[in-house]
């Protein structure tokens, strides 16, 4: 195999020299490319990573004839197969709303970190198949993140817990009830002393009400909350600043200058989908708009928000506080901390000046992983600069019981160790896996008399519990939850529970002596009490239908800043490397580890799939003489974990980032055995970062499946970037970056388009690189998961990939994202080379892919300059497992082995809209067809529509001077084009480029 079986040895010093020697703008994708290793060259030159072409045994003439004869005969026989007899099962009593063959949409919400993201879920004959955002929901606005998209796959996960188990043996709910109730009765006599309930963050009004009633029934019982990604520091910061817990809301649509202190607000925040929309709305340079906001990002690990920044400053995590203090001092708060060199001084002054120049239109936002004092500094700056009340507003906390979750967990563990816990009920979460290592949750758990867990999977915690109850998926159960602004959604199920599962409401109902009460009863009863009026039925119907309960957003709260800035704390020991803990970008805190779509999703910056790695900067790697994929022992506070190394351009020096969520030992076929467990290093005292990490070489290697070298188009002005100032001064600069041949320079006949001619524009200025489009496309188009081994040889099937480009030097590169679907070329190179006419031009300009004609020559993929065609080398789609089939979109063919596939512009959606329009004898309206990638995009970076309609949004955007076609010099005339990416750097820092 000419794939990169052996990772090439990278000489980082030589790469640096080479980069320094280059002139002009230099974009690059990975270190191997810069090193120009022979293995990389060969990899790029082969369209198909080998594996199919090299049979192990040589085929001689005789065998060849035998195979050909057999194939011919079998192919002939194949044509004679009759279709199998199919049965139709009509309803006995048809439900009113369902029209067979037409999807129905229901509003519901998915809860992540306690907060609701409003959804509209598509249901085909009772099967939920696709998740969309609810445009009426404040935390969605019609878009979703990757987790909501992938959640539908978790519903049909064959590895979900399906039966009640007692000590690992199959049991029944009734048997559970008899033991559980006996225990509860015994505890009732002691006022509930010894009863503990552990949940994740709760915003659900019904659940909170049930928990309160439980507290009343068992006054000595305690309710604990723990979430690995808790927002303890934000809460503590608010208490420092205002003397009370308040929730801080940011209004990015009003902010002109933003200083983010290690805050990955576009991705890693409960309200990130809305923030992404608001943030990108201030960065579009379209329709004559020539204004952009400016983002300064100071971060301790490369994040997507950092890639959107106009100025990015990578610092070890503990140094962020120092910068925050210095900026504050520059704005008249506190004193200037020592130890800043002149270049840093210049940065701080520039940031502070910019913030001061935009009083009331600036914003300082601190990340949840930064200590409370940084939050205090952010609040102080926002108040001093008049941003509070304008770009930054406050409400009462949205959580039902905002507590310091780490303290709550610590208290629980303490009580467990003391033998004071007789009954522990865990609802959601996986504390044995996800609790900080120093608490030894598993050890403490062993001292609990009766341990009960309600969860989706039979996970690490379930293994140590007496009873494990399968939890209902959110698409199977009734509940309610609040969005980040407080708006309540009543969560309605799309399908009855697939297994004998229960929801948290049903568990609590049992504990409240209301055994048999369904989730629906619990939620409805609660809201009946809240809205005790004759029109309750209308209220209920409207609330459930709309997916939001009207007027439940929390009112704004005025707060007064009373904080006192504490003196700088001496960092206890800043010796050794810093370690930075973050949730994994693909599998979250570990709860999505058994989700194939998310496992195979290339992580936004590393492009790693199926693994996590210890990320460190090129300079640190050079100093420690480390190479990619080298397995090292990470030793931190007496604990050791083995992890593969990944060299990350733009990573802060002397810092290692580890993502937690991987390294599961239980919880499904995909979850266990992938990656390493970073929780094993995490401590409750410093859950987000610390110092004193030591790295030791282990001499082992671990293959990492990264897609960053796959589908390389070899640098030919693929991303085009500039600054706002350049654009204003010289709007045509984008077109001067590449050559576009005249339209008549073609041998092929022109196509005529009578009514519709579809096209797409992708605004690189808005694109965050969040990957939501990739997952949405996978969900909509029944795209198969192939597994790590296949990804290693370049066979991932995603129809839309997000290419990530670096520009600049190794240590402080700028990062750009470019989603690449099929370009649907006007003169498509794939079309003329297909010997069987399986890829043809449609009368609306689509480049149709006809699976039933395809014989798998792969000529089309060879001839595609954009590398967007995907071939089913093996039977990747699961045709066997019944439960998996329920997820499939019935409007899209499930592809078999030997067939080429690619982006179709969601032709099933086009056809559906065209049929409806024709039936109503009208034209298809602009915006009526949303492709799956467009619909999900939080930043609205993808716009699809009719190019023949001069008033359509897509046609207007194509006229923008920023519009350019990918590889347009090949005269393929792509229908998918891009708007060039602009940055808005501070002129005061222009000399510095966009990095420190």
């Amino acid at each position: 195999m000419s794939t990169m079986t052996d990772t090439p040895h990278l000489d980082l010093e030589a790469i640096r020299r080479r980069l320094n020697g280059k002139q002009g703008r230099q974009y690059w994708r990975c270190l191997e490319e810069l090193a120009e290793t022979p293995a990389f060259q060969q990899f790029v030159e082969n369209e198909f990573a080998p594996g199919v072409v090299d049979y192990s045994s040589a085929v001689n003439r005789r065998n060849f004839l035998k195979f050909m004869g057999a194939s011919l005969a079998l192919a002939g026989l194949n044509a004679c197969t009759r279709q199998p007899v199919e049965k139709i099962f009509p309803y006995v009593q048809p439900p009113e709303q369902i029209v067979p063959g037409k999807p129905v949409y229901f509003a519901t919400a998915m809860v992540q970190r306690g907060f609701a993201q409003g959804l509209l879920v598509e249901s085909h004959m009772g099967r939920p198949t696709k998740v969309e955002g609810n445009p009426d929901h404040p935390a969605s606005l019609g878009a979703t993140d990757i987790f909501a998209q992938a959640s539908v796959l978790t519903l049909y996960d064959p590895d979900r817990a399906q039966v009640v188990t007692r000590a690992g043996r199959v049991s029944t709910w009734e048997a559970f009830l008899s033991e559980f109730n006996l225990k509860l009765e015994a505890l009732r006599e002691k006022q509930g002393a010894g009863l503990r309930v552990l949940t994740e963050t709760v915003t659900s009004p019904t659940l909170a009400d049930q928990l309160q009633r439980l507290q009343a029934a068992f006054p000595a019982a305690k309710w604990h909350q723990y979430e690995p990604t808790s927002r303890d520091h934000a809460r503590a910061g608010a208490v420092l600043a205002f003397g009370e817990v308040v929730e801080t809301h940011y209004r990015f649509d009003r902010a002109a200058v933003i200083l983010a202190l290690d805050a990955d607000f576009l991705i890693d925040h409960p309200n990130s989908v809305r923030y992404a929309r608001e943030f990108s709305s201030q960065r579009r340079v379209v329709d004559g708009e020539q204004k952009m906001n400016r983002l300064y990002m100071i971060e301790s690990t490369p994040t997507l928000t950092g890639t959107m920044a106009d100025h990015r400053w990578a610092l070890p995590p503990a140094a962020v506080e120092n910068v925050a203090r210095a900026v504050a001092a520059e704005c008249g708060i506190g004193s200037t901390p020592a130890a800043l060199d002149s270049s840093q001084q210049k940065w701080i002054k520039a940031i502070a000046d910019d913030l001061k120049a935009h009083r009331g239109a600036g914003m300082v936002i601190a990340g949840d992983n930064q200590p409370p004092v940084v939050h205090l500094l952010a609040h102080a700056l926002n108040h001093a600069l008049g941003n509070a009340g304008n770009t930054v507003v406050y409400t009462a906390p949205v959580e039902a019981a905002p507590v310091d979750q780490m303290a709550s967990l610590r208290e629980l563990v303490h009580d467990m160790n003391a033998g004071a816990v007789e009954l522990l009920v865990m609802m959601g979460g996986n504390p044995v896996f996800a609790a900080p290592a120093d608490l030894d949750f598993a050890g403490a758990l062993a001292r609990v008399g009766l341990r009960v867990q309600l969860s989706l999977h039979d996970d690490e915690t379930a293994a140590l519990c007496h009873w494990h109850i399968p939890e209902s998926h959110y698409l199977e159960s009734w509940s309610d939850a609040r969005a980040f602004d407080g708006t309540v959604t009543i969560i309605q199920p799309l399908i009855a529970p697939l297994y004998n599962s229960k929801s948290a409401h049903e568990m609590l109902a049992v504990m409240l002596g209301q055994s048999g009460l369904t989730g629906y009863d619990c939620v409805r009863e609660y809201w009946q009490k809240q809205h005790n009026a004759p029109d309750f039925e209308t209220f209920w119907q409207v609330s459930v239908h709309d997916g939001v309960v009207a007027n439940t957003a929390l009112p704004l709260k005025s707060v007064s800043f009373t904080g006192q800035l504490p003196p700088p704390t001496e960092t206890a020991s800043s010796a050794g490397l810093a370690i930075c803990f973050r949730p994994d970008p693909s599998v979250g805190d570990g709860r999505f580890a058994n989700n194939g779509w998310l496992q195979e999703l290339p992580k936004p910056l590393t492009k790693l799939t199926w693994d996590n790695a210890a990320l460190l900067s090129p300079a640190t790697a050079q100093r420690l003489k480390l190479q990619n994929e080298e397995v090292v022992e990470l030793q931190y506070q007496g604990r050791t974990v083995k992890a593969p190394v990944w060299i990350m351009p733009g990573h802060p020096e002397e810092t290692v980032t580890v993502h937690f969520g991987y390294g599961r030992s239980r919880g499904g076929q995909l979850a266990s055995g992938t990656g390493f467990n970073a929780y094993a290093l995490r401590t409750s005292a410093a859950p987000w970062f610390g110092h004193g990490l030591e790295i030791r070489k282990s001499g082992e290697r671990h293959r990492l499946a990264t897609s960053q070298m796959h589908h390389s188009m070899e640098n030919r002005h693929l991303v085009r970037t500039g600054t706002l100032a350049e654009f204003v001064a010289h709007p045509e600069f984008v077109h001067e970056m590449g050559h576009e041949p005249a339209p008549e320079m073609t041998l092929y006949p022109e196509h005529k388009y009578e009514d519709n001619a579809w096209g797409m524009v992708i605004d690189l200025n808005a694109c965050l690189g969040c990957n939501a489009c990739t997952i949405a496309c996978q969900s909509e188009n029944n795209i198969a998961v192939v597994g790590k081994e296949q990804v290693l040889i370049g066979r991932e099937m995603h129809w839309i990939r997000v290419d990530r480009y670096y520009e600049g030097d190794l240590d402080h590169p700028d990062t750009y994202h470019q989603p690449v679907p099929c370009m649907h070329c006007e003169k498509a190179p794939c079309e003329p080379v297909c010997p069987v006419g399986a890829t043809v031009h449609s009368s609306e300009g689509l480049n149709d892919m006809v699976y039933n004609r395809c014989v798998g020559t792969r000529y089309c993929a060879n001839n595609c300059p954009y590398k967007v065609r995907r071939f089913n080398f093996l039977l990747y789609s699961d045709f066997e497992t019944p439960i998996v089939k329920l997820q499939r979109n019935p409007d899209v063919t499930v592809r078999s082995r030997g067939v080429m596939e690619k982006c179709t512009y969601c032709v099933q959606r086009i056809n559906a809209a065209r049929i409806e329009a024709k039936k109503e004898e009208r034209a298809i309206a602009d915006g009526e067809i949303l492709t799956a990638c467009q619909q999900v995009c939080p930043a609205q970076a993808i716009i699809f529509g009719n190019l023949n309609d001069p008033n359509s949004r897509v046609a207007r955007l194509k006229k923008s001077p920023l519009n350019y076609g990918l590889l347009a010099d090949l005269n393929t005339r792509p229908r998918t084009t891009y708007l060039a990416r602009l940055r808005n750097p501070n002129p005061a820092l222009a000399e510095e480029g966009s990095h420190a």
Binding site: R82, P90, Q93, P100, T893, V894, K918
Partner: protein, 215 residues
């Protein structure tokens, strides 16, 4: 040395060489015929159903409209197979004890669906939509044949792509006025003239893009 082969083997070898061509050709022809035979296409083959339902009786003799049972035919891709309730609207009153209807009553009592055998079945990679065909003036009987005469239902046409294309390429030969699409008896006086006019009027076009049916 005597000849090993008799001179007649010359003829034999010639015949077998030429014969091989005819044999291969014949084999291919046989395959082609088989492929289009009703053995493979299941055209004109009566399907055994759990209830011996007669379209001849219900449509031909009683004159019940198609849409009484196939309710979603005008709005959805799928025409819809009647729910047991639809059968019971009449059969709770008439023929209430008929043995032939026992599976229907059983379904009604037990709330379990009747497992009908699919008669008109397209491959899974073909996406056909009933509603747009009706809107564009294609009658039920154009594809489903003389349903009013089928005591037991069969597939009238092979439903192969070549058959679909006859109409997708030349819709004027098949299209009828919209108000006659459900008629089982309507005949055009001059299909060629009427067809051409209706194709204009109903704006029938773009019928041969692959992605119209395959996606």
């Amino acid at each position: 040395m005597a000849q090993i082969f008799h001179p007649s083997t010359n003829t034999l070898s010639k015949v077998s060489i030429f014969g091989a061509v005819f044999f291969v050709g014949g084999f291919l022809w046989l395959m082609l015929v088989l492929e289009r035979s009703s053995y493979v296409t299941q055209a004109n083959v009566v399907r055994e159903q759990p209830v011996a339902f007669s379209h001849r009786h219900h449509v031909g003799q009683l004159g019940i409209d198609c849409r009484y049972c196939h309710t979603s035919v005008e709005e959805s891709a799928f025409a819809g197979i009647p729910a047991t309730k639809t059968c019971m609207t009449c059969h709770s009153q008439i023929h209430t004890t008929a043995e032939i209807l026992e599976p229907v009553r059983e379904s009604w009592r037990s709330d379990r669906a009747i497992a009908w055998v699919r008669v008109n079945d397209l491959p899974d990679f073909v996406y056909f939509n009933h509603s747009i065909h009706l809107k564009k003036g294609i009658g039920c009987v154009t594809c489903h044949g003389p349903i009013q005469e089928m005591a037991l239902t069969w597939r009238e046409n092979p439903l192969e792509m070549a058959w679909c294309l006859q109409c997708h390429r030349n819709p004027e030969k098949f299209v009828r006025p919209r108000d006659q699409v459900f008629s089982t008896t309507w005949r055009a006086e001059d299909q060629e003239k009427l067809g051409a006019q209706l194709v204009q009027e109903y704006q029938i076009r773009k019928l041969t893009d692959c992605s119209i049916c395959h996606r």
